[in-house]
């Protein structure tokens, strides 16, 4: 598998990280080096091995469906970039 500049553009778009055209070549070469390391995985046969997603195989706990959090929106919104009428402001999405 060889990464291309188009892959870098597509991934950057998916990740919502702007990669300037001037930087793309550098990003591609670094990622290619890292994927060369990652490709070493393919040398081992893992047929029939169950994937391990977590170090401890524990069940997610359930809790009673009751309110446990208090309303702290004033504190939490005090550190937001832009707030108005208790709402987070973002650029207009719909014309």
């Amino acid at each position: 598998m060889a990464l291309t500049l188009d892959d870098v553009k597509r991934i950057a778009q998916l990740a919502r990280i702007e990669v300037a055209p001037a930087e793309a070549g550098e990003v591609l070469s670094r990622m290619t080096g890292i994927f060369r390391l990652i490709e070493e995985m393919q040398a081992v046969d893992t047929t029939g091995v169950a994937p391990m997603s977590h170090a401890q195989d524990v069940m997610q706990r359930l809790r009673d469906d009751v309110v446990t959090e208090s309303d702290r929106h004033v504190l939490f919104q005090s550190i937001a970039p832009q707030v108005e009428a208790d709402l987070y402001l973002v650029p207009k999405v719909i014309e």
């Binding site: 990280i17 670094r30 990622m31 080096g33 890292i34 391990m52 170090a55 550190i79 970039p81």
Partner: protein, 500 residues
């Protein structure tokens, strides 16, 4: 000056006997943080007034006689832990203006124990790095040699303890970020079994691997800190429900007859001769203490670095999607629309290594590549974990080097991510398996330019770390093993020259 090299236990005794107050201890260490700490760049945030206010409260508790083992003692916390009212940046521009509105569980536990927050330590940005060079706030210098890195990602915490800027500190370890800097900076560090310490309020990097742990001068101090840090917390869904334990309970036990597993893979080519020499001497010391050594094998360990660089970036790409310039943190000053605001905020707010890992993670999780990378890595993770299960049938603890070399120079590996990743070759498998691991000082090597591994050693040489890996929940046994070694040797009490 007399308390410079005091352990937590000695400081607690001084405080209890009223020979010194918490305010005096805190002022003593703050002075060091604001002096030598600045030279080393070990801290991101220091707030003398806030620290001294906590010290005054601790003195009230001490006067009343209700003190515990940590009451009134100043601790530095890695800037990855949210502490209410403290700027908490994770060493990133994107959180450079973030004042935490709540306490992480670890912070709350130290507060409950009456400890003082001495400041927030420098680190690799979002804990992604092995040298502390990816910090937005600049690299930390190694107190043993200011041309060298302290290790990472918890480089500021390791350097702070090594330089005696604080008696002890906290860190986090996703692929070696406590053990590797502990080794390179010549202090003790413990990564507990996954799930023993709550991750609540600890800024997430790779959630299935991240675990908080202590840095200190002695194994005994690590045990005292674990007693405060460990325990169930319902706010972290992976926090394990276990009976509370006293991590110091087994410290005095004899280790005669202990079976030490030495993995052939740890002692293969790749380990620098000076590291090998110090580790071999440590193993010989354990034999003198009555331990037996057995050879064990971890055949899949060589795959742990590639597996880690699929799983950790994948989890990071998901965890770091929350930094979007909407609810907190940095927002790009100029943008055209919402998508552009996200992309510019993240492009400007994250450093190169963080962006690289997010892009890798996004790629391996993207449509068509999931099976080849993410699922493959999860299967190999199982094989790596099973190797340890087999090894622990033959031994009680596993020992080897923490790192392949002693501290490398600032800038030496910064331009080559793959070389940097390989410096965690001995630590990553432990995180993948979820096992507890620690590093303790076991001697000195010489990695300075042009000197090779020339002997004899002198005090300005770089520290070497011995890694001790335990079976699940065997922290108390590992601490016992390390404590017994520290009763017979004094590597752990050595201080970098010129720091007093």
């Amino acid at each position: 000056m007399h308390m410079l090299n005091f352990t937590l236990k000695q400081l607690a005794a001084e405080l209890a006997a009223k020979r010194v107050s918490s305010v005096e201890v805190t002022e003593f260490f703050l002075k060091r943080i604001n002096g030598l700490g600045k030279t080393l760049n070990a801290f991101i945030s220091v707030d003398d007034e806030r620290s001294l206010a906590a010290a005054r409260s601790a003195d009230v508790v001490l006067a009343k006689g209700g003190a515990g083992p940590l009451t009134g003692i100043p601790f530095a916390h890695k800037d990855i832990f949210c502490a209410q009212g403290w700027r908490t940046t994770c060493a990133s521009k994107i959180l450079s203006n973030f004042v935490a509105p709540y306490d992480a569980h670890v912070i709350a536990q130290f507060n409950r124990a009456g400890a003082v927050i001495a400041g927030k330590t420098n680190m690799d940005e979002f804990a992604m790095g092995s040298s502390n060079e990816t910090s937005y706030y600049g690299p930390v210098k190694n107190p043993w040699d200011t041309a060298a890195v302290p290790g990472g990602s918890s480089g500021g915490s390791a350097a702070a303890v090594a330089a005696r800027l604080v008696p002890a500190a906290t860190g986090t370890d996703t692929g070696g970020s406590i053990r590797q800097p502990a080794a390179l900076s010549g202090v003790c560090g413990l990564k507990p079994t996954y799930g023993v310490v709550s991750r609540y309020g600890m800024i997430a990097f790779a959630s299935s691997l991240d675990q908080a742990g202590p840095f200190a001068k002695t194994a005994e101090d690590l045990a005292l800190m674990m007693n405060a840090m460990a325990g169930h917390d319902a706010r972290d869904s992976t926090s394990l429900e276990r009976e509370p334990e006293d991590y110091a309970r087994d410290l005095p036990l004899s280790i005669h007859g202990l079976r030490i597993g030495l993995p052939a893979e740890f002692f293969a080519a790749g380990m620098a001769p000076d590291v090998a020499r110090a580790v071999d001497q440590a193993v010989a010391e354990f034999r003198k203490l009555g331990c037996e050594t057995v050879e064990v094998s971890l055949p899949n360990m060589k795959l742990s670095v590639p597996v880690y660089y699929v799983l950790a970036p994948a989890e990071a790409s998901s965890n770091l999607s929350r930094f979007d310039g909407v609810r907190y943190g940095y927002r790009a000053p100029e943008y055209t629309d919402l998508a552009d605001m996200y992309s510019k905020t993240r492009a400007q707010g994250f450093g190169a290594e963080v962006k690289r890992r997010i892009l890798i993670g996004t790629y391996v999780l993207s449509h068509g590549y999931y099976d080849a990378y993410y699922l493959k890595a999860q299967k190999l993770r199982r094989l790596i974990a099973q190797d340890f299960v087999e090894a622990f049938k033959k031994c009680d603890v596993i020992m080897g080097p923490t790192t392949p070399t002693t501290a490398f120079n600032l800038g030496e590996k910064a331009g080559d991510p793959v070389q940097m990743y390989l410096s965690d070759i001995y630590t990553i498998a432990v995180n993948l398996a979820g096992l507890p691991g620690m590093s303790i000082p076991c001697g000195f090597g010489r990695e300075k330019k042009g000197e090779g591994s020339a002997l004899p050693l002198n005090p300005s040489d770089h520290p070497v770390g011995l890694q001790i890996i335990g079976n699940y929940f065997d922290e108390a046994k590992m601490l016992n093993v390390a404590h017994q070694y520290q009763q017979a040797t004094d590597w752990h009490m050595r201080m970098p020259p010129g720091i007093a």
